[in-house]
C-alpha cells in the first residue's frame, strides 16, 4: 500500500518520511509538493494514507514560472476533492505548523478542527497534528495514525 505525502517543505517532509519509514520500511511514499500534484495524485490513485500539509503552492516550485499562487487552504482542497471522488478513499492525516485551521472563515484550534473536518468532508480523517520542527511531540500521534491505518489495511 502507498502513502501520499503532500508537503512542500523539505525539512518537514524529511522528518515525516523518517517516521513513516521507521514504522514500516517497505512503505511506498509518493510525494506531492503542490496542490496541483496532490489533486492529480488523489484523483488518479488510491492511497492507504494521505499525509497533508495545509499551506501549499499551486504548482511545484521547481516548475517553469515557480509555484504560482500560494494556497493557504491547499490541504482542504485535497479533502474537498477526495470527498467528491466516487471511489472509496483511504485515511487522511493533517500535519501542519499552524495551531489553527481556518474553517468556514474562522480560525479553529487544531484540537477542535478534527471533528469539524470529519463532519464537513465525510472522510476518514484520523488526526490533525501540530508539527514543530524543534520538538518531537508530533511524532507519536503520527505513529498512532500509521498504526491504526496499518491495522485497517493489513500493513502500509
Amino acid at each position: 500500500m502507498a502513502v501520499l505525502l503532500v508537503e512542500d517543505d523539505e525539512f518537514k517532509a524529511a522528518d515525516i518520511t523518517k517516521v513513516i519509514v521507521e514504522f514500516c520500511e517497505s512503505t511506498i511514499i509518493r510525494r506531492a509538493m503542490s496542490v496541483t500534484t496532490a489533486l492529480r495524485a488523489v484523483s488518479e490513485t488510491q492511497f492507504s494514507l494521505v499525509v497533508l500539509d495545509m499551506s501549499l503552492p499551486t504548482f511545484e516550485l521547481s516548475g517553469p514560472g515557480g509555484g504560482g499562487s500560494p494556497q493557504s487552504q491547499g490541504g482542504l482542497e485535497v479533502l474537498r476533492l477526495a470527498k467528491r471522488l466516487s471511489a472509496a478513499q483511504g485515511a487522511f492525516v493533517l500535519i501542519t505548523q499552524y495551531p489553527d485551521i481556518e474553517l468556514e472563515g474562522r480560525d479553529v484550534p487544531l484540537a477542535a478542527s478534527l471533528r469539524i473536518i470529519k463532519s464537513k468532508f465525510e472522510l476518514d480523517v484520523r488526526d490533525c497534528i501540530l508539527y514543530e520542527f524543534d520538538t518531537d511531540a508530533w511524532r507519536q500521534p503520527l505513529r498512532s495514525v500509521l498504526s491504526s491505518v496499518s491495522e485497517k489495511w493489513g500493513g502500509l
Binding site: 501549499l56 499551486t58 504548482f59 516548475g63 517553469p64 514560472g65 504560482g68 493557504s72
Partner: protein, 1020 residues
Amino acid sequence: MSNNKKPSSEANIRNSLRPFFRAKKKKPYWKQLQAIRVETPLIDYSVIYGIVESSPNYPFAGLGNTYPSDCKEVPNGKLHGLKPLALNRELALQVGRLNYHAEKLSFALNSLGEIVRDLCDSNYSSAETKILEHKSKYGNSLAILKKEMFLGLNEGGLRGLSKRFSKLSSEAEGRVWSVMCKVAYDMLDPAYPPDSALRSWYLFARSRPDTSDWYTRLLKDEVIDYSERDTDIASACLRYGSLSLIDLALQLWKKKAVYPTEERIQNIFSRLDERVMNALSSNFTNAKLPIPKAYITGEGGVSDIDLYRVSYCFSEVREVAQWRVRLTSFLTGFMPHQSILGDDKIYASFKDAAEAIAAEPRGHSEILKSLDEANETIASSKSEIIRRPYLESGVIAASLRQMPTVGVEDGAALVNLLAKYDNIHTYITQEVLDSLLALNVSEGNPLLSFMLREMIYRKSRTADNEMERRLAFMQLFNGRSDKRVSSYLRETCSDNADLFEFLTKVCSRSFLERLFMLMTSVKDVLEEQLHIAEWKLEIYPTERPEIIEEIGSLKRELENLEARSDLDSTRVHVDEEGLREWFSNTHSGNVTRYIQTVLAEGPNYEPVPMLLANSNKERGHGEDEDFSNDAKIGSEFLLVSIMAATLKAFAADRSFGLDAYLSRRIRHGTLSGLVITPIARVLKRMTEAVNTSAPLSEGEDESINHFAVEWRKYLTAELDHIRREVIQIKGSEHPEGLIRASWETAGNIQHLDAMIVRLRNRVIETGGRIDIFSEIYAYCWDCIEPDLAQLRLYLARGFAPRAMTHLQGLYADLAESQSKLAYDFVRELGEVLNSRIHDVVGWFIRPVFRRDEYSLKVLVTSTLSIVRELDDNYSFAESVSIDGDPVLNRGGFDVFGDVLFVLIGNAAKHGKRDGNITIKAEPYEGLKKFISLTVKSEVDNSQELERALARIDAVRQADTSMIDQAAVGEGFSGVRKLIGLLNKIKSGHVSLYYIPSPDDLTIEFKVILPTEILSSRGAA
C-alpha cells in the same frame, strides 16, 4: 350600587385620549391610538374619526397623517409602534378615514392627477407650478415627492436629479423621508440598473428587524409594489396611512390594480366615498409615460429599463402599476401569490411565453418577438422602445424556473440561452439552478453542466462551489487528446460569440491556475492566457489597444519565465491580481455608476468633504433612528462605498487579502521559528557549557536549566499571544488586533478626500476612460500603513524591551556559580532576540503602491524613515544620492526593499552615533536595468570594525543549506537571509560586496541588482 352598563365606544376613545386633550407636554401617543384601533368594534369605526381625525385638541393629525406640512414627519415616526390589524379590519378602518376626509381628499387627488397629466404631456413648467400649489394646499406626500424627482431628472439629467434630491432631502436629514428621496434617486439614476436598486433596497428593508416595519414595509412596497401575506397588505395600508391621506388612497388603488381577484380588497372599494372613487378612477387609470432625455442613449432608442425607471414615479396609475408588477414579478420571482394580476391577459401571455421557452428553448427568439405589444401599453407614442432586456430577461428567468418541472431536453439550446443571457443568474435563485443541474439533460451535457455550476458559483462564491465549477470545466476535456483550453474554446465557440464571451470571462488566471488536470505550471497558464487573448484579438479587432496590451504583458512574462524566482520574501503582501479580479467581478457595475455620476456632475461639482460627511452617527431605534448614512448621494459617496468594500476585501479576504498572507506566512511557524530557533540553539549551547563547567552546588536551586526552560516558555507564550491576538485584523474576535484596516480616521479621511478629488479630475479629463482600481488599491495601503507602523512599534518598543526585562530578571535569579559563566550567553541571547525582532519588524513594511512601478528614491526615503522610527537614539547624518530616478517593478521593489532595510538597519545598529550613513544608487556599468546600490557607514573604532568584519565573514562562510534556512537561522541581522535572497535571482550580474576601510573606519556594502525581478510568492 355599581353601574354595570358597558361604556360606549365613544366614551372609551375619549377616555383613552384624555391625557392628550389640550396637553401642554408632548408625550408618545401611539399606544393609545393602537388601543383604540384594536378595541373599537368594527361597527363603531365611524365614531373614531369624529373624535380623532383633525382635532386641534390633540397632538396628532389622526390615526395616521393627513396633509403633513413637515416632511420630517412623513412617515410619522410617532406612530412607529402601531401594529396592523387583521386585513378586513385594517382595510375598513383606513377606508373609513379616507371617507371621513373625502371632500378635501378628492380635490387633492384631482390636483395630483393634473400634475400627472402635465408631466405625461411634457408640460414641465406647468407641472412645477402646480406642484408648488398642491404642496401648499395638501402638504407633502410620497406621490408628489416622486413627481418632483422626475421633474429634476427632466430638467438636468443626473445633475438635475441630484439637485432635486438635495433640495427635497435636506429638510429631513436623517429621517425616513430622506431615505424615500434616496430610493427615488436610485430608481431614476440613469447610471444605476433599477433592478439592482430594487434588490438593494429590498434587501436593506429585509435586513432590518421586525420593529422597523413602520418604514421597511414602505420600502418593500415601493420597490416591488407587492405585499405577500395578508398581514403585509394590512401593514402596507397602515404604513401608507402614516405617510399621508393621498398616499393611503393611492396605495389602496394600486392594491386594487394588482390584486384583481382578491375580494377583500376589491370589495372595500364599494364602501369608498364616491368622490374619492371618481378622483382615483378619472386621474389614475392610465397614462402614457414620457422618457426623459437623460435615458436616451447615442443609439437613439430607449429600452424597457428606462421605462421601468420612469414607471416608478407613476406607479399609482393603474396600468402602470400592472405593467410594473408584471415585469417585477418575472424579474424577481418574489411574487408567487396566485391572485396577483388575476386573469390579466398580458401577464398570461408572459407566462405562456415562459412556458413555451421552457418546453422549447431553441425557439426563444421567436417567442420573445411575439411579446412586442406589451411595452406599448404605457410608453408614450414619442418613445419608441427598441430594446427590451428586462422583458426578455424576466421571461427567460421565468422559463428557467419552470424547466425543472417541464423537463427540458434540448441541452444545446439551453447552453445558447444561458450564454446569451449570461446575467440571468441574477434573476433566479440557486434552488432553480440546482434543479436545472439535476436534470438528465445537464448530466448528459458537460458544457451545460459547467455553465450552471459557474452560475451557482457566481451566486455564492464558496470554496465548494468553486471546486465544483472547476471539476465541471475539466470534465469538458474528458476523452480529448488536446487538453489545451484555448483549443477547446476555438472549437466550441467559433460560431457562437455569446458562448465565447461567457467562457473567456471565466478563464481568468486564477481559474486556469487551479485546473489541476489541465495545467502543470505557471508557464501553461500564461500560454493559455496568451492564446485566448490572441484569439480575442481576431474576434474583437475594435478593442485592439486593451487586448494588444494584455498580449504584450503576457509575452513579457513568458519571456522572463526563466528568470522568475520564488523569492521567499516575508514582506507583508496582498495578492493584487486576486483583489483586482474580485474587484472586477463585484464592482464593475458600481464603478460604471460612479464614473457616469462624476461625468454628470461635471467639473464644477464640489464633493462633500468626508471629514464633514462622516459623522459616524449611531443608528437609533423607533422614531429616533438615524438614516443619514442611508440617504447620501453624489459620486463621492459611491466611491466611498466601493472603496470601503474593497478595503474590507483587501484586509480580510482569506484567499487574496492581507489576512491570507498573515495566516500563510506570519502566524504559523515563520514567526516563532525565526525567533525561537536561534534562541533555542544558544540556550542549548549555554546549558551544556554551564552545566559542564559549573554544576550546581548543594542548596542552589535556580539552575541554568530552569533559566532555559522558563525563557523559552516565556518567549513561546509571548509569540503565541502576538500571533493569535496582535497580528490580527481588529474585530470582535481579536480586540487586541493592531490591523484596524479602517478608513475612518482623520488621517485616512484626508487621504480619501484627496483621492476623491484626484479621481474626479481624472474621470473628467479622460471622459471616463480610466481604471480606478489602482488608485483604490494604493489607498488601501494608505489605510493600512499606520497599522503597520503600530505593529512595528509594538514589536520594537513594546515586545523587545519587555522580553529583555524578563531575560534580565531570569538572569538575576541564577545561582551565583552559574551566573558568571552564563553572562556571555545571556548577552548573545539578547542580541539574537533583538536581531530577530528587527527582522520581523521588516516584514511589516508597505510593499508597493503602484501596480507595476515604484521609485527607488521613494523606497530609500521610506526605509530611512522606518529605521529612524524604530531607533530611539538614531542620530546619523544621512547622505542620499540617487542617479536619475530608477523605477523598480514589484519583484525589484521587494528585493531592494529587503536589501535596504537590512543594510540601513545594520548601519544604524552598528554604526557610530552622530556618524554618517551614505546611500548611493547608480546604473551598473551602463546597464540600464541594473543598479549598483551602496550603503556606507562609520564605526566607532578599529575594534568595532574588526568585530563587525568577523561577524560578516561568519555569515559569508555559512553553507548553502544554512542560507536556505535564513528565515529561521541566526546571523548578522539579516545579511545571511540577504545572501539567500540574492542567490535566488537568476542573473550573472547580481552580487554583494563589502568593503571595509580601516583608515576611515567605514564599512561599505555594495549590491548589484536588476530593477525588474519577476517574483511569485511561495507558500510557507
